[in-house]
């Protein structure tokens, strides 16, 4: 088997009250409650972060590196996506933000979206040379890539085999610095992430061997640090190099229609994990015809809706667009960051290798056994109340039935079945309460 997949979403068992909100919101049914605590099935989790959004006790969190880890490197690059800057109120200038980033310890700041300059052309070339089934599905959102791997395995070949702006940007910047004479192992590139899926894709990348990014910093925690500094106005703003202009289409790449507007032919943009699932079902059935390119993002409002952003998604978009407008008025001459000169060097890095499917829907790898299990689970399902109350610690009656045939649960986990068993004298009340405690912890039955 492949190496285990890293997931950035973790559950703090101290904070988790086993309330099952997360279990009911997970689009891949990866969560179960046992012993009063939610647990995530690593094989099914796609790091979309829906669970963290609904958790009332913030028990589901996104693991991050200690900020001081950046100081392990002599040269420290902050790789920032445009939505990071979009969080700040408009009266705070980009140069102020960059200056504070330097003050906090970064030696370089580089914008992720600059990589779009070479990526957009690669997308056009890819579209021109593409001969497989349509639509081409963008590889931009790592949660969507993982969703397709586990839930829509027959679509993996349709994922565009092109790398993400963040990895291309990191590859370019590392090369640029080493060309300036810096030692590769002294360069640390830290991506400021708006979501959990990006972290997972950096630690367990798909389609490349290893990410060019050295570490990840969560957008909200860095936002707080930077914003605090700016508010404190401690005066000594560091000098930062004059920023070069970034075109609108690049800055908007990570927002809704950022890619689809640029790709050729008939394109479609979808945001939100449930919208994506609904549409991918149709793509898989080939019910969708005539679409050439599909932009697909797990978060509502794409990266502006990332769970690690400190600000509201709609405000981020509004502020970012305001910033772009303002910049357009200020500067007219465009100066590249130099990434174009590295186009040939980046060419091989932009291409992704195969993306394997790793279907997690199966009941058993052996088909005969799977058929037997399916028969059994259908029989069990008929006995269950089909009200999906979740009291068994599984998200639906169907999920419980499948858990039972996989040997991960028993019929008596269902409280309706329990009542029947008690009536038939097959178990007593104490046993029933014991089962409830096993699922929901001691807190549940006082």
């Amino acid at each position: 088997m492949d190496k285990p997949f890293y997931h950035a979403l973790k559950i703090d068992e101290e904070l988790c009250i086993g309330c099952s909100h997360c279990m009911n919101s997970c689009p891949t049914e990866a969560i179960r409650v046992w012993n009063g605590i939610a647990s995530i099935d690593e094989d099914k989790c796609i790091d979309c972060g829906e669970c963290a959004k609904v958790c009332p006790t913030t028990a589901i969190y996104v693991e991050e590196d200690y900020f001081d880890n950046i100081f392990k490197y002599r040269y420290r690059v902050a790789l920032i996506p445009s939505v990071f800057v979009g969080q700040f109120p408009e009266n705070i200038k980009a140069s102020q933000i960059y200056s504070v980033l330097h003050k906090l310890g970064f030696t370089h700041v580089y914008e992720v979206e600059r990589a779009v300059e070479v990526l957009r052309e690669a997308v056009w070339d890819y579209q021109k040379e593409y001969v497989d089934e349509y639509p081409i599905i963008s590889s931009f959102c790592p949660a969507i890539v993982r969703l397709i791997q586990v839930k829509f395995p027959s679509l993996v070949d349709q994922i565009m085999k092109l790398n993400t702006p963040s990895d291309i940007a990191a590859t370019f910047y590392r090369k640029k610095l080493t060309d300036q004479g810096l030692r590769d192992n002294e360069i640390g590139i830290f991506y400021i992430t708006p979501c959990a899926a990006k972290i997972a894709s950096i630690i367990s990348p798909v389609g490349i061997e290893e990410s060019a990014v050295s570490g990840v910093i969560n957008s909200n925690s860095l936002y707080n640090r930077v914003y605090r500094e700016i508010k404190n106005e401690t005066g000594d703003i560091c000098a930062v190099p004059e920023p070069t202009v970034i075109h609108d289409y690049k800055l908007l790449w990570s927002l809704n229609r950022g890619e689809s507007r640029q790709a050729h032919g008939r394109t479609l943009a979808i945001d939100g994990i449930y919208n994506a699932i609904e549409f991918l079902e149709m793509v898989e059935n080939e019910e969708v015809t005539g679409i050439d390119f599909l932009e697909c993002r797990a978060c509502s409002q794409s990266c502006a809706g990332g769970i690690l952003n400190a600000e509201n998604r709609f405000l981020i978009i509004e502020r970012l667009k305001k910033r772009i407008e303002r910049n357009n008025q200020k500067t007219s001459d465009y100066k590249s960051s130099g990434i174009r000169e590295y186009k040939d060097f980046l060419a091989s890095r932009i291409k992704l290798g195969d993306i394997p499917s790793r279907s997690m829907m199966m009941l058993d790898a052996d088909m005969l056994k799977a058929m037997q299990k399916m028969k059994n689970s259908q029989k069990i399902e008929k006995e269950l109340p089909s009200i999906d109350c979740g009291a068994c610690g599984a998200p639906s009656c169907k999920a419980l039935a499948e858990d039972i045939v996989k040997g991960n649960a028993t019929l008596s986990h269902c409280i309706f079945i329990q009542n029947k068993l008690i009536k038939n004298n097959e178990i007593n009340l104490d046993t029933a309460l014991g089962i409830i405690r096993n699922i929901w912890g001691n807190r549940s039955v006082k």
Binding site: S154, N285, E286, M367, M374
Partner: protein, 137 residues
């Protein structure tokens, strides 16, 4: 194992429900995603054909570790010239059906392309029996 589904003529909103359900089943049975996709595409086309051209129909899906066999039996006008119906681009779809985005005359050809065996029997004025098989190994 066997599954049965019913299809109503003219009910375009529900066309595809059998193929979606079969798809879920095949994923649970760990059938190769590529083969699953072919079967689902073929079944979807066949379902739509009953919806678009016939009055009502029954679908029988038989799954074994060796093969999947699907038979669709409908009550409908039947097909006069099967050979002609199989030709890519041939369609008798009504204007209404075309408005819904169907009627390119690609369905039967698509079913043929996506299956290992295919067989149509039809009686004009009575109905059509379409059966196809995909081998799993």
């Amino acid at each position: 194992m066997e599954f049965e589904y019913k299809v109503e003529g003219g009910d375009f909103t529900n066309a595809g429900s059998a193929s979606s359900s079969v798809k879920k089943t095949l994923k649970k049975l760990n059938v190769d995603p590529k083969i699953t996709r072919k079967i689902v595409v073929a079944l979807y086309e066949a379902e739509v054909n009953i919806v678009a051209h016939a009055y009502r129909g029954d679908i029988l899906v038989k799954i074994s570790p060796e093969q999947i066999n699907i038979t669709l039996t409908d009550e409908g006008p039947g097909i006069e010239n099967i050979e002609q119906a199989m030709v890519e681009g041939y369609s008798t779809a009504s204007a209404k059906v075309r408005e819904m985005g169907f009627g390119a005359g690609m369905g039967l050809a698509n079913i043929k392309k996506n299956t290992d065996q295919m067989n149509i029997q039809s009686e004009v004025g009575k109905g059509t029996v379409l059966s196809f098989t995909n081998f799993l190994s």
